[in-house]
């Protein structure tokens, strides 16, 4: 059985596209596997729960009880991919806690594969946070998200050293369109007959990137 992936979508900055990425990835995994568990750890940002209420539950890392509720679920090797939309308020506490409780070591022992999707930004807080993640996570499990809408082609060199997943910017009117709570990426792919539209291609490109990311994470076979 392949390791159970746990995707941790994070940034110490607000409004960089974490929830958008969490939506995209959750819908991709739901389409591919038929099942996914998503966790919304946001206090003030747009909520994943509002977009995907059927597969999302809220969680927090404010107190120990919340941490237990979340982490005791994440550490289970049940073949169901997990997606965490980690709000910027919870960034420091979450990674401090995972480091303290030895999450990576236990995950490796149990066949769970944590993958950090770090949404890059050009500010100092992001620049300081990235090396901390590099210290905690192996290079293979730390992916930089180059969201064109945020970094505008100026991805910091330090964050470009490892694996980078690029998300191209959408025109404003399409951005507004996909920001509607009722919008579903997979439904759009299924229902839009014209596959040449910009949004169609954008969704397909991102789904393909996720597929490639998944493949790159699989243990190499001899």
């Amino acid at each position: 059985m392949s390791p159970t992936p746990v995707y941790i979508i994070c940034s110490p900055r607000p409004m960089v596209g974490k929830t958008l990425l969490a939506r995209l990835l959750s819908e991709f995994l739901l389409l591919k596997d038929g099942i996914v568990s998503s966790f919304d750890i946001n206090l003030k940002e747009p909520s994943l729960l509002e977009y995907l209420p059927r597969i999302t539950e809220t969680a927090d890392v404010v107190d120990t009880f919340g941490k237990m509720q979340l982490m005791d679920r994440l550490i289970v090797h049940d073949g169901v991919a997990k997606v965490i939309d980690l709000g910027f308020h919870a960034f420091d506490e979450f990674f401090k806690m995972t480091h303290q409780i030895g999450f990576l070591k236990e995950a490796a022992r149990r066949g769970v594969a944590p993958v950090v999707l770090f949404v890059a930004d050009t500010d100092r807080v992001s620049a300081r946070s990235y090396p901390t993640l590099q210290e905690y996570f192996p290079a293979k499990a730390l992916i930089t998200i180059d969201n064109e809408h945020v970094v505008r082609g100026e991805l910091p060199t330090a964050m470009a050293a490892g694996q980078v997943l690029r998300i191209s910017a959408l025109p404003s009117f399409l951005k507004t369109y996909i920001d509607r709570v009722s919008f579903s990426f997979t439904d759009y792919l299924r229902n839009e007959r014209d596959s040449s539209t910009e949004l169609h291609q954008w969704i397909r490109r991102n789904y393909t990137s996720f597929r490639e990311l998944e493949l790159s994470l699989l243990p190499q076979q001899s």
Binding site: T64, M68, M71, D72, I101, G102, K105
Partner: protein
């Protein structure tokens, strides 16, 4: 034959974490394969015995018969280390008793290795115990244990006060026990197992348990930090057990 080692853990104040420190000591020696026995002076019902029933005996240190049970068996007992968890308020009287029966003289003469872990509370009264206890400490290793398990402070914010207590005794060694997450602490309490078994997700009889991974992680992290303090003071050297067992990646 190795010298017998006696470690007294005590304080004159209650609720400062004497038994918690005793438990970490027993776990530390167990992990380092040092045969150990323990005496719990919380007669008739001991907390330490609840966590380490196999190696702990409840005694009443104020009675001669129980004093004999502890000290007359030091040379005969196969475990080389004896840990005594002294009940609150009994540290000074216990040390006085040890002096009276000639035990402290034997320690001074090098026949016995004797250590006192004095667990400190956050009050001036607790700090005043240091001077009182220090009178008995000739020939003994004296450890002043600052237990942060209750978010306690030790007057670090008032350097003059701090120095007047902590630097008063020349040969005392300071030891810091960090704070353990409250929920993790409570869960171990409820489970009534040694910290080591909790970390290993085992019940009283080594059966598989189902403790929270998060709480086990907190306990593992905390225990590693406590043990690194014991490594720092070379506790295994004190008991003649050589280098501590490697615990890579835990700290």
């Amino acid at each position: 034959m190795a010298k017998p080692v006696v470690i007294v853990v005590g304080a004159d104040k209650g609720g400062v974490g004497k038994t918690t420190v005793s438990r970490t000591l027993l776990d530390y020696f167990s992990a380092n394969n040092v045969p150990t026995r323990a005496f719990d002076t919380e007669s008739p019902r001991g907390t330490l015995k609840r966590f380490h029933p196999d190696i702990t005996e409840i005694v009443d240190m104020t009675t001669t018969s129980d004093q004999m049970k502890i000290f007359d068996t030091l040379n005969a007992a196969s475990p080389s280390v004896t840990v005594i968890d002294v009940r609150a308020g009994l540290l000074s009287p216990a040390l006085a008793s040890l002096r009276d029966i000639g035990f402290l003289d034997a320690a001074k003469a090098g026949q016995i290795t004797f250590s006192v872990f004095h667990i400190l509370g956050p009050s001036i009264a607790s700090l005043d115990e240091i001077a009182e206890t220090a009178n008995f400490m000739q020939g003994a290793k004296y450890y002043l244990v600052k237990n942060f398990i209750n978010d306690t402070q030790f007057f670090q914010w008032d350097q003059a006060t701090y120095n007047s207590y902590f630097h008063r005794i020349k040969d005392a060694t300071e030891l810091t026990i960090p704070k353990l997450n409250e929920m993790a602490y409570e869960q171990v309490e409820v489970s009534s197992v040694p910290f080591l078994k909790f970390v290993a997700n085992k019940g009283k009889d080594d059966e598989a348990a189902n403790y929270s991974f998060v709480l086990r992680g907190y306990v593992r992290h905390w225990l590693a930090n406590v043990w690194s303090e014991f490594d720092r003071i070379k506790l295994t050297d004190l008991v003649g057990a050589g280098k501590p067992v490697s615990r890579g990646g835990e700290k």
